[in-house]
């Protein structure tokens, strides 16, 4: 008896230790071994150093971060193939998209002398929570995906984004709903996060009298029956949801199952095939998901939303490197004057770090699948 109970304990201990070990492994997936800096005497001192990625790789919106890392890795692979004597590595920091986790990782990033630039942060909440840290450390950053308007109002001169902000998207979405979809009563729902409230707030503002009501759910909520009743009670002919694909999918599913027949629209946080998986093909049918991002070119080697932006952001850093920038300040100056066509569109930055021209596209769910190839440009 005693022997057997000891064995159970040993087993449990091993299991726990295994968990702890693998949990440690999740924070830093990227190759952290910098393979012997440079070689040539004339090579940049940044050779062999790293770019960092900060964003969600796991958790509720982990799919989006995985897309970004795919884009970054593609750009790095291309660069490293051509510059075998000056390889650049990627270090990933998984914030799970949480503004509570990100600041600790930001401190790690600025204290790591190997890191000369940041692609990220992924989301708006974590960008607001970490921007000051990066700004004070002078680490230049380019976000592929953080769209909240207020981030670039903070005066963080090292902070840039290669994606249009929520003002542009919210305006385009509201206009699409009233003019193209012919909605006159739009019910606006968000999940209370920085990004979501920003986008939904802009949509509400532009809608004006065409807004039939609003509600706020919480992240992780699965029972949407109260929202469905409110939407139907308001006699809404369209719903706009600001938030991410899990709750968006559940809301669309509950609305359709409740017999509601209007237009369902959401923003870039929901523009992921997982939206259709969660909602089910029937409930997702006809949903409109906007994103400030053109579809990737057909020969592009990475997939998913934000992959092209992440690819472009990485290439800006690599271009700075080839241009001879060595310090954070020099890289930052280079980014400020950058003006090229990326795969996601023309890229140049204004004084605040916002991209100067951006287009908003509406993607549609057709025949039970999110059609990523034929969006309609709505701005």
């Amino acid at each position: 008896m005693i022997r057997s109970s000891k064995r159970w304990q040993a087993l449990a201990l091993t299991a726990v230790a295994g968990l702890a070990l693998s949990a440690c492994g999740t924070t830093d997936d990227g190759g952290s071994d910098s393979s012997g800096g440079g070689g040539d005497a004339g090579a940049s001192p940044l050779c062999g150093k790293s770019l960092a990625f900060l964003g969600a790789l796991t958790g509720d919106a982990g799919a989006l971060g995985q897309n970004m890392v795919g884009g970054i890795q593609l750009a790095l692979d291309e660069y490293n193939k051509d510059n075998a004597d000056c390889k650049i590595e990627l270090k990933t920091f998984d914030s799970q998209g949480s503004p509570d986790t990100a600041p600790g990782l930001a401190t790690q990033i600025v204290n790591d002398d190997d890191i000369f630039g940041l692609v990220g942060p992924g989301f708006s909440g974590e960008s607001l929570a970490t921007g000051k840290t990066f700004f004070e450390a002078g680490l230049p950053s380019i976000s592929p995906s953080a769209t909240n308007v207020t981030i670039t109002d903070q005066g963080w001169t090292t902070w840039h984004r290669v994606i249009g902000n929520d003002d542009a998207q919210g305006t385009a979405d509201a206009t699409y709903l009233t003019e193209k979809a012919g909605a006159s009563k739009v019910y606006v729902v968000d999940d209370g996060q920085d990004y979501s409230k920003g986008l939904a707030g802009k949509v509400s503002e532009v809608l004006g009298d065409a807004q039939a009501g609003s509600d706020q759910i919480s992240v992780g909520q699965t029972d949407m029956s109260a929202v469905v009743t409110s939407v139907k009670a308001a006699d809404a002919d369209a719903v706009f949801y600001g938030g991410y694909y899990t709750e968006a999918g559940l809301l669309a599913k509950a609305l359709r199952q409740g017999g509601w027949k209007g237009t369902f629209m959401s923003g870039d946080g929901s523009e992921d095939p997982a939206f259709v998986e969660v909602a089910g093909p029937a409930a997702a049918e006809g949903a409109v998901l906007s994103a400030p991002a053109a579809p990737a070119p057909s020969d592009f080697g990475a997939t998913g939303l934000y992959a092209t932006q992440a690819y472009d952001a990485t290439n800006i850093f690599l271009a700075a490197l080839e241009d001879g920038a060595e310090t954070g300040e020099e890289i930052n100056t280079f980014i400020g004057s950058y003006n090229e066509d990326g795969v996601s569109g023309p890229i140049s930055f204004d004084d605040k770090g916002d991209i100067e021209s951006s287009s908003i596209y509406a993607y549609f769910v057709k025949d039970g699948e999110l059609d990523l190839e034929n969006p309609e440009q709505i701005q």
Binding site: S5, W8, Q9, A12, A15, V16, L19, S22, A23, G25, T26, T58, G59, D60, G62, A63, Q66, V188, G192, K197, A200, G201, S204, E205, Q211, S214, D215, Q216, I217, S218, G220, Q221, T222, D223, S225, A226, V227, V228, T229, S230, K232, A233, Y245, T246, G249, L250, K253, Q257, G258, G259, A274, V276, E277, V278, A279, G280, P281, A282, A283, G368
Partner: protein, 343 residues
Amino acid sequence: MKERPLDFGALFGSFDNFMSYTAGGLVFGAIYALIALGYTMVYGVLQLINFAHSEVFMYGTFAVAWTFVFLHGTGRVNQSLGEALPVLLAALVAAMIVSAAIALLLERLAYRPLIKKGAPKLIALISAIGASFALAEAMGLRDRFASWVGLDDNLKNYVVPGKARDVYSNPVSIQPKGLFDIGGYSVTDVDLVVLFAALAMMVALDQFVRRTRFGRAIRATAQDPESAALMGVNSTRVVQLTFLIGGLMAGAAATLYMMKIGSTRQNAGFILGVKAFTAAVMGGIGNLRGALLGGLVLGVMENWGSAVFGSEWKDVVAFVLLVLILLVRPSGLLGESLGKARA
């Protein structure tokens, strides 16, 4: 965005809306109630809160989705309840087995060693919280476990390498059919099944505890473990049985939940666990009928709160209500313990 005013009109202004909010709340309340059973049974017998019960439920939801992937494949389709029924029954069995197995494992690893050594209840509580984290994280890292044994390719539809922590959906989306309307709420076949299955299981369990030999042993142990042991009741067996029943009910709840919601994730148990625990306390913890009443009241109150204050306030409404009920009736609505149930 427009500030939302207090909107009593939304709830009480029209009978249709009122019934609609209520009906929606009842359906989810039934799921709360089934999960609450696990908390209440274990508390009744051991005076312990089994905080890992939410994970017992979560494993059940995955068992349901996995059964569909196994029997149906990953092609995403819509099916009516009737079409999905055979696979759904298989999924019910699988979920009940998986949940019960996890519950028994918990009892064996996280409780029995502590109870044997006469550890204080607080220690068992911490052990439960630890077990809860370990189970949830193990599910979130299942892709890594699979890759350690080299099975991640074979099992990629189940472990989803790289996205194990992400939302995991049942490939078959069960399309409910509206049967009739109560107010503005279209009552569907899925809603009715959820509600009646929950009620039927409650009644069956209640009768089991009140009328059978095993039930008598459970009640005896709940009342006075030492006297029960002296009368020849095997208390270890009774505790095992209690966990087993809690696990079976959680598996059933998981199946109903997946019918209605259709997707889960490694932390799906957390919020539902908190709600179910609240329901158990509200109804009177240790009381089976209390768990049912507590679950339904909580579900309805959340929806009423959403209607009047907005959905972001639903938890506030639910928990304020809990505090008020406990102030007036400290032992919950039906405040009777498992041991005092009469045959």
